[in-house]
Amino acid sequence: MFSFRAGAQKRMEETRAFATEEVAPGIHIRPGLDEDVTPRNEDGIANIGFIVGRDAVAVMDPGGSLIDGQRLRATIRRTTQLPIKYVVMSHVHPDHVFGAPAFQIDNPTFVGHAGLPRALAMRGDFYRKRLEDALGKERAGGLVAPTMLVQDHAEIDLGGRVLTLTAHGIAHTGCDLSVLDRNTGTLLAADLLFVRRVPSLDGNLRGWLKELAALQSVSARRAVPGHGPTSVHWPSGAKDLERYLGTLLRETKEAITKGMDLEAAVGTVAQSERSRWALFDDYNGHNVTQAFKELEWEQ
């Protein structure tokens, strides 16, 4: 363990803890970078973290790569020795769940939306190959199948701390799961909530607006977004996202009504939002594409 061999040093370096913010008592969140995956950031681009109860720890999310997950685990172990009993996977996207293998050693319950297995099966291999290209095979991580599926609602008990899990209708993706900690009034919204970093639409635009409206009536004083700051006031923290999605909806519909084709729409829709979001140019065109293919069937 104290060898000077480069490999061992590298391994120790890789499992170093990272800084987290305690957004509410016992809820620790690592802020993700407003970047896309690079070898340097190890896909640590999402807000991920853990919740400590009296008897156990729940992870949400396990991280964007094996390395990201290992570092989260090291961070947890620096804070508490309680068993990691649950690993909640908020949805299918790699920046949230590819760190799951780092927790297999703890033999936890892996929790996911009932739609997650299908989504992982459809996309997992593609994501894995792409992440391996970016980070290398040994650092990328991989898929872990959920062992507990949530259909509507479920609860998990960490000892004096019961977390409410909600499986949402198609929104950001087709398998979004949120967590509510009633003890502290904290909503862990994952990618149902983007702040500062431009959202990516990968499910259904009307569905997302609907779920976002419902989430705003959840009684929580703060929410943890999947990207952006580690904590925002709730429900006011939903305003920017709601405005962006509303603009996307309205302007995409207008483009379709005018007879504009998809290629033209991607360059014009929601441009008023450009200066308000990080990575806007990297994702807005994708979002317009998603919105267009959904809304063109309505008219």
Binding site: H93, R118, L120, A121
Partner: protein, 288 residues
């Protein structure tokens, strides 16, 4: 003809398989794999056109695609064709896709074969080719390099349940006003998952059978506009923009057949009453 096409496709798939085993598609964001791309295209050319020579398509065929895919599951492409040289058909090839032949259009007497648009899946950094076949049997090729999409999009698309729920539903509208005898551009939309299926996934134990569109036939007043042989490289809910020449008011009919032998019919009055006139009816094998 059907069997010839099928065997072509089979050869294709074999070549693709060989390739993915021998030389995995290079996803690196650099251009120094030009040699790999060239040799892949050579093999595909051989499989598809068996030794026929391909001419530079400048002035005959033009392929437009975004330099970077915004969404791996839905990349809009445009093929423009010569207005001078009579064109019999067009092939669209996406070299690095698991099934590279995305589409083969054969134009009929009612076609105005000068511009085509469709949406395709793009798995990786890839060359894309449009090959026009002239009436006198010559082949002309245009090439385009497309970078893979970033972020979280995947060629499989998002949730296909909407596409399955009303599979076979169609919409059609004209671009511009109807003038009898003048070439007209029409946009055809077909609800279909166009999904290549999955083997049993070892991790999630999830399995989905394939279901994709094999052919689309569009005709006007009994005369063919185009026949399309397609494949899993076409996006979910295909949207195809094509040209035709309506001599007078009449009916445009569309027949879609898929890999489960389901047949979907749509008929649309031209000029119709604005956007989205039409009624699609499904027949054949029931949806899965």
């Amino acid at each position: 003809m059907g069997t010839v096409k099928q065997s072509l496709l089979a050869t294709f798939l074999t070549v693709a398989t060989l390739f993915s085993a021998a030389a995995p598609a290079n996803d690196n964001d650099n251009d120094n794999d030009a040699a790999t791309r060239a040799s892949r295209w050579q093999a595909l050319q051989k499989a598809l056109f068996s030794g026929r020579s391909l001419h530079d398509g400048a002035g005959i065929v033009k392929l437009d695609a975004p330099p970077r895919a915004l969404d791996a599951a839905l990349v809009p492409i445009t093929v423009d064709l010569s207005t001078v040289k009579p064109i019999k058909g067009v092939y669209v090839v996406i070299d690095n896709n698991p099934s590279p032949l995305a589409a083969h259009f054969t134009f009929g007497p009612k076609a105005d074969p000068h511009s085509l648009k469709m949406r395709v899946r793009v798995d990786a950094y890839t060359d894309m080719h449009a090959i026009a076949e002239s009436q006198d049997g010559q082949l002309f090729v245009a090439t385009r390099f497309v970078k893979a999409s970033g972020g979280c999009s995947a060629p499989a698309g998002s949730d296909d349940s909407a596409a399955l729920a009303d599979i076979g539903r169609m919409k059609l509208h004209l671009i511009g006003d109807f003038v009898a005898g003048k070439p007209e551009q029409a946009v055809l939309m077909v609800r279909h998952p166009n999904f290549n299926g999955m083997q049993m996934n070892q991790i999630t134990r999830f399995y989905t059978p394939p279901r994709f569109i094999r052919t689309i036939d569009a005709s006007y007043e009994g005369g063919s506009i185009f026949h399309l042989d397609s494949d899993i490289s076409m996006s979910t809910d295909p949207v195809i923009t094509f040209g035709f020449v309506p001599q007078a008011k009449g009916q445009l009919k569309v027949v879609v057949k898929d890999s489960k032998d389901a047949k979907f019919d749509g008929s649309f009055d031209i000029p119709g009453n604005g956007a989205a006139a039409g009624n699609a009816a499904a027949s054949g094998a029931p949806g899965a």
